[in-house]
């Protein structure tokens, strides 16, 4: 087991390194000269050279990449002489736009994205899985048909449409919620809950619809299997069967997908954060993309990849625990 975990973790490092190199190559080679962009409106060729030197852009590409990677592990220095700035590890560089440390920016924004992701995940797991379980057990009834029709429709609504419609109804028309704002929990727990509720709902609905459909399909499959027929033959009622025998096999695949989805969201819910003006990692990403702020784009990509890869490992480990059929030697 220990060897398995160690193997998986070293694979994580390889993937992250690959993502790093690939992203670096794409952005630092394809997009326009960052020195020119930092230089601003009243720019001179001399100033461009100064900036290139202080960012290390005048050095060969591989050396730059090496500096970047070393910065993440051990920190690095920018500039020289009086203008020397030390960037401690993990150093992701400084924003071209604001000059802030990218690592500090990420730390400041991450709590918002985590709040959005966790709240939405709770909602969609509770909602989606419950509806899916009920529909699976009551396959073919009016409940099943209507919830599945709703789920099909729900997963077809673009999230930004949903966000604006909800904002209009809940905030402007009925005035039951305030406009979303990134209020810290410590400031005012009630206002915190109220202002995050709508982003949670918007984000959760799409996933809940998918999860309801997947759970239902899994429940139906499981109930059709042989050991279920045996259980039923023993005279167990549907609810009892579900609880005692069907729940675990029906939900195991959900765990896999949930791990991936949730990990993906930790890297920022781009559309939801943008529409609601929540200053999370996703909003930071879309702002950075609009301004071509490469260090920030790099950081967000790496962060999101990190969460996805880690999520993958956690899912695999959970899977082995949940499903005894999967042996750690496999894969």
């Amino acid at each position: 087991m220990l060897r398995y975990v160690a193997g998986r973790l070293s694979w994580v490092l390889v993937i992250l390194l690959a993502v790093c190199v690939f992203t670096y190559v794409i952005f630092f080679q394809l997009s326009p000269d960052p020195a020119v962009m930092i230089c601003g409106k009243t720019c001179t060729p001399e100033r461009i050279d100064t900036i290139r030197t202080s960012l290390g852009l005048d050095r060969p590409f591989l050396q730059q990449l090496g500096d970047f990677l070393r910065g993440i592990v051990a920190g690095r220095d920018y500039g020289s002489g009086a203008n020397l700035v030390h960037c401690p590890a993990p150093c992701l560089g400084y924003s071209f736009q604001s000059g802030q440390s990218v690592w500090e920016m990420v730390l400041e924004r991450l709590p918002v994205s985590v709040t959005v992701a966790v709240g939405a995940a709770v909602l969609w797991l509770l909602g989606g899985v419950t509806i899916g379980l009920l529909s699976g057990v009551k396959e073919g009834t009016w409940w099943d048909r209507s919830t599945m029709a709703l789920a099909l429709g729900g997963s077809s609504i673009p999230p930004y449409v949903l966000a604006l419609a909800l904002q209009y109804l809940l905030v402007v028309k009925w005035q039951v919620l305030p406009f979303p704002a990134a209020i810290p929990f410590g400031d005012d727990p009630v206002a915190w809950f109220q202002s995050y509720l709508m982003p949670w709902i918007v984000l959760a609905i799409g996933y809940a619809c998918l999860y309801a459909r997947m759970t239902r399909a899994n429940v139906i499959d499981t109930l059709a299997e042989n050991f279920m027929r045996t259980a039923r033959a023993k005279g167990l009622g549907p609810v009892l069967i579900l609880r005692r025998h069907a729940l675990r096999p029906a939900l195991t695949p959900i765990v896999t997908i949930f791990g991936m989805d949730f990990a993906g969201l930790l890297g920022g819910a781009l559309i939801t954060e943008t529409v609601f003006g929540l200053n999370g990692v996703g909003k930071m990403a879309s702002d950075a993309i609009a301004k071509n702020d490469q260090p920030v784009i790099m950081a967000v990509t790496l962060l999101a990849a990190f969460f996805v890869v880690i999520g993958n490992v956690v899912v695999d480990l959970l899977y082995t625990a949940l499903d005894p059929r999967v042996r750690t030697t496999a894969s």
């Binding site: 997963s155 077809s156 449409v161 799409g206 998918l210 920022g268 559309i271 071509n292 990849a305």
Partner: protein, 319 residues
């Protein structure tokens, strides 16, 4: 496949049909089953309508008397920020589905031309992902060993990317060029591993089955094994995942256009129309409702067809 890139972040995949359908002879039965399903029939009818609209977009333009980019300043009110004159977003005998605010372009004609772009992008991306996904999935599953290692690691790598963030970043960094082509390429690069993973899994199972073993024993070469024995058995998986991929890509194209990195003006696409209409949703709801309804309807119809198809194929296998 990329069904949920419509939503945020990483797509999770709809569960593929379990196992493989028996080869041949089922097409007629599946069709019969679908014809009995009112949802599937309605959805198909709607899709046919959209495809016809896309194909005959210039004809619609001629009939309506407007080009997709023709301004009609008389149809909007300058003093109200360019709000369409008349009720329901300027619906009139001249403009059957109303006009766009600020410039008075005809919405029906733009919807028809937009269907071309949206469908073109979604269908091309689906075709490309299907080809790449099936080929690489088959190779990995059939040959195993180092081939499998290489392909699987490549899939791990691509699936680790935050697809949406990366797509936006790449699209905004690249020169504008031919946006639809770029969109198709970017969508495909990040989309194929989701299909390939499923195909690989099924191929692994199939390769061990008796009928493949038997064929191998009777001297069939690798090529014959793949094309004659394994591929036909993957048919239902491929059909279903493909149907479900198209709405995913339509939604993603719309999302990317919403974030400003989709097709460039004046080209009409549904996503772009919705993106522009968002701020008008209170004063001119129809501008938002009409393209929104077309997008929603198409995505829903494709999902229903995909879903029912899977159901019919699964049922066929069970019988």
């Amino acid at each position: 496949m990329a069904t949920t890139t419509l939503h945020e972040a990483q797509p999770s995949l709809p569960s593929p049909p379990t196992g493989a359908a028996p080869p041949g002879g089922t097409a007629r039965r599946v069709l019969r089953e679908l014809r009995r399903d009112i949802g599937a029939v309605l959805s198909t009818a709607f899709l046919v309508l959209i495809v016809l609209m896309a194909l005959f977009a210039p004809l619609i333009g001629t009939l309506a008397g407007h080009g997709p980019d023709t301004f009609d300043s008389a149809a909007v009110d300058k003093d109200l920020g360019g709000l369409p004159k008349g009720s329901l977003g300027g619906i009139s005998g001249d403009h059957w589905l109303g006009v766009e605010p600020q410039n008075g372009r005809d919405i029906l004609v733009r919807i028809a031309y937009g269907a071309r772009i949206s469908m073109l992008i979604a269908v091309s991306a689906t075709l490309l992902t299907t080809v790449i996904g099936v080929v690489l999935g088959l190779l990995a599953g059939f040959y195993g060993r180092w081939v499998d290692q290489v392909i699987s690691r490549l899939m791990d790598f691509l699936m680790a990317f935050p697809a949406l963030i990366f797509m936006i970043a790449v699209l905004s960094a690249l020169p504008a060029g031919n946006r639809p082509v770029l969109l198709v390429i970017v969508l495909s690069v990040f989309g194929w591993p989701y299909l390939a993973r499923v195909v690989r899994g099924q191929t692994l199972t199939l390769t061990g089955r008796e009928f493949v073993e038997a064929a191998r024993a009777s001297g069939a070469g690798s090529r014959a094994l793949i094309f004659a024995e394994i591929l036909p058995n993957l048919r239902s998986t491929i059909i279903v995942m493909t149907t479900l991929a198209v709405p995913g890509y339509i939604g993603t194209e719309a999302g990317l256009s919403f974030l400003g990195v989709g097709v460039t003006p004046p080209t009409a696409s549904w996503g772009q129309m919705i993106a522009n209409s968002v701020s008008w949703y209170q004063v001119d709801p129809m501008y938002f409702v009409i393209p929104g309804a077309f997008l929603f309807g198409t995505v829903l119809a494709l999902t229903v067809v995909g879903d029912r198809l899977r159901h019919a194929l699964d049922a066929g296998e069970a019988s």
